[in-house]
């Protein structure tokens, strides 16, 4: 019943193409993370604003991002919006979907981090004449980002892995998409996807290691 002959050479011959795909995967993930962090800060400010409308927007975003499949979010960013005549490329849709997911999760992480920072920190800043926004920007936010650093690393890893969902919206230039196309050509399914898995694994390990080094440099207090 088990008479499959492994042909690793065929898979390894495609390695350069897959590595090109890995670069695209990293680009999308990094970009989605950068925009996601910025959006999560904005969502956090919305929640702190005291405005019902703004905090309602932020809460809805977080709820949808955290309680629906990432696949649904990416699908919506492509086929969902297409129903309204908005057409994004697969690359853009994938970026939007992952960014939406990142921002939601990170905003929730930030909320938890804020609870660990005493109110007196902002108060001390206000008493020195800093405005509310300045106290957030220079006193609260740096501490919030530091506390959230580990969850942010996890989200970055998750963003890398989420790029694999891009195939559902026709993405074929990222690592998973490239692998999928190669599979259709060669049918070396196991070998190709095993190589892709190893590349995914290495990318995420490097991210975790890099994050640890970065943390050691950035947070000396």
């Amino acid at each position: 019943m088990f008479n499959y002959t492994f042909q690793w050479k065929q898979a390894l011959a495609r390695l350069p193409q897959m590595l090109d795909g890995a670069v695209v995967t990293m680009q999308v993930a990094l970009l989605s993370m950068a925009i996601g962090i910025a959006l999560a800060v904005v969502l956090t400010l919305f929640r702190l604003s005291g405005s019902r409308i703004l905090s309602g927007i932020a809460t809805s975003w977080v709820e949808i991002a955290r309680n629906t499949p990432a696949l649904f979010q990416i699908y919506m960013a492509h086929f969902g919006v297409a129903s309204f005549g908005i057409h994004f490329s697969p690359w853009t849709s994938l970026l939007l979907g992952i960014t939406f997911n990142n921002a939601g999760y990170l905003a929730e992480n930030f909320r938890g981090a804020l609870k660990a920072i005493p109110d007196t920190q902002a108060r001390a800043g206000r008493s020195l004449g800093l405005s509310e926004l300045q106290a957030f920007r220079f006193i609260v936010m740096p501490q919030m980002l530091r506390i959230s650093f580990l969850p942010m690393t996890n989200q970055m890893v998750w963003a890398i892995l989420m790029t694999s969902l891009g195939v559902t919206v026709g993405m074929n230039t990222d690592l998973y998409g490239v692998t999928q196309d190669l599979n259709a050509l060669t049918f070396r399914t196991f070998e190709l996807f095993a190589v892709a898995a190893v590349i995914f694994y290495l990318i995420t390990k490097v991210i975790q290691l890099g994050a640890r080094l970065l943390a050691r440099r950035m947070f000396r207090y």
């Binding site: 020195l128 405005s131 947070f219």
Partner: protein, 240 residues
């Protein structure tokens, strides 16, 4: 000049300030003593507008603190406040802690702010701790850093809210010495304190707060030497 006129303030059903009238002249050192919950600390946070008041007025150099038209961020530059919990900013070095407000609020250039910060840190005896993070400092050092941080804004008035209460007894002295230094330099100060010896020594006047009322106010020799109200007599007997 700080003028406090018939100020009332409640937290829910609890009235913590029941009509306070008090004027602090420039150059004066006023200490406020009294039991917990007597409203002393609340009054300080009202003076720089961190807390709203229910009625009455507080005027700082003629500007009404709680008027809608008052720019509190600007007014607060004149009024330094140091709290019982020193609230060091943990992510910034000692120097950066002190430089932050001069740079961001006053818009000082970096060298200018740094010169100011170094000057104030040396003033409070922390000239050798500039590049250290606050977590490496003792409580007394952190509290002195908080004082330098407030002084770096060149305030006209300084409010001290039980600044030695959270300190190890061994560290109280160094912080009080810093306050004495400021007083001797002519800074206008309001100090809420439990340090009776300090109050007696440095104050021009001492006010005794009891249950939201300023029960007595007098020069220290008079207030400590001949307390009039039974409440103050009881308080002094208990703290002696």
């Amino acid at each position: 000049m700080i003028e406090i006129q018939n100020v009332r303030k409640s937290f829910g059903a609890l009235e913590v300030l029941k009509g306070i009238d008090l004027t602090v002249q420039n150059g004066e050192v006023l200490t406020i003593i009294g039991g917990s919950g007597s409203g002393k600390s609340t009054l300080l946070t009202c003076i720089n507008g961190l807390e709203p008041i229910d009625s009455g007025r507080i005027l700082v150099d003629g500007t009404e603190v709680h008027a809608r038209s008052t720019d509190l961020n600007e007014l607060r530059q004149k009024i330094g406040i140091v709290f019982q919990q020193w609230n060091a900013f943990p992510h910034l070095t000692v120097l950066e802690n002190v430089m932050l407000a001069p740079r961001k609020v006053k818009g000082m250039s970096k060298p200018e702010a740094e010169a100011m910060a170094v000057k104030q840190l040396e003033h409070v005896g922390l000239g050798d701790k500039l590049s250290v993070y606050p977590s490496r400092l003792s409580g007394g050092q952190q509290q002195r850093m908080a004082i330098a941080r407030a002084l770096a804004m060149s305030p006209k008035y300084m409010l001290f809210d039980e600044v030695t209460s959270a300190l190890d007894p061994m560290l109280v002295g160094e912080v009080l010495d810093t306050l004495r230094l400021l007083a001797s330099e002519g800074m206008t100060m309001i100090c809420v304190t439990h340090e009776m010896k300090f109050a007696r020594e440095v104050s021009d006047r001492v006010a005794f707060f009891h249950q939201g009322v300023m029960a007595e106010i007098a020069p220290p020799a008079e207030l400590f030497g001949a307390p009039k109200s039974p409440d103050l007599q009881k308080f002094l007997a208990a703290t002696a």
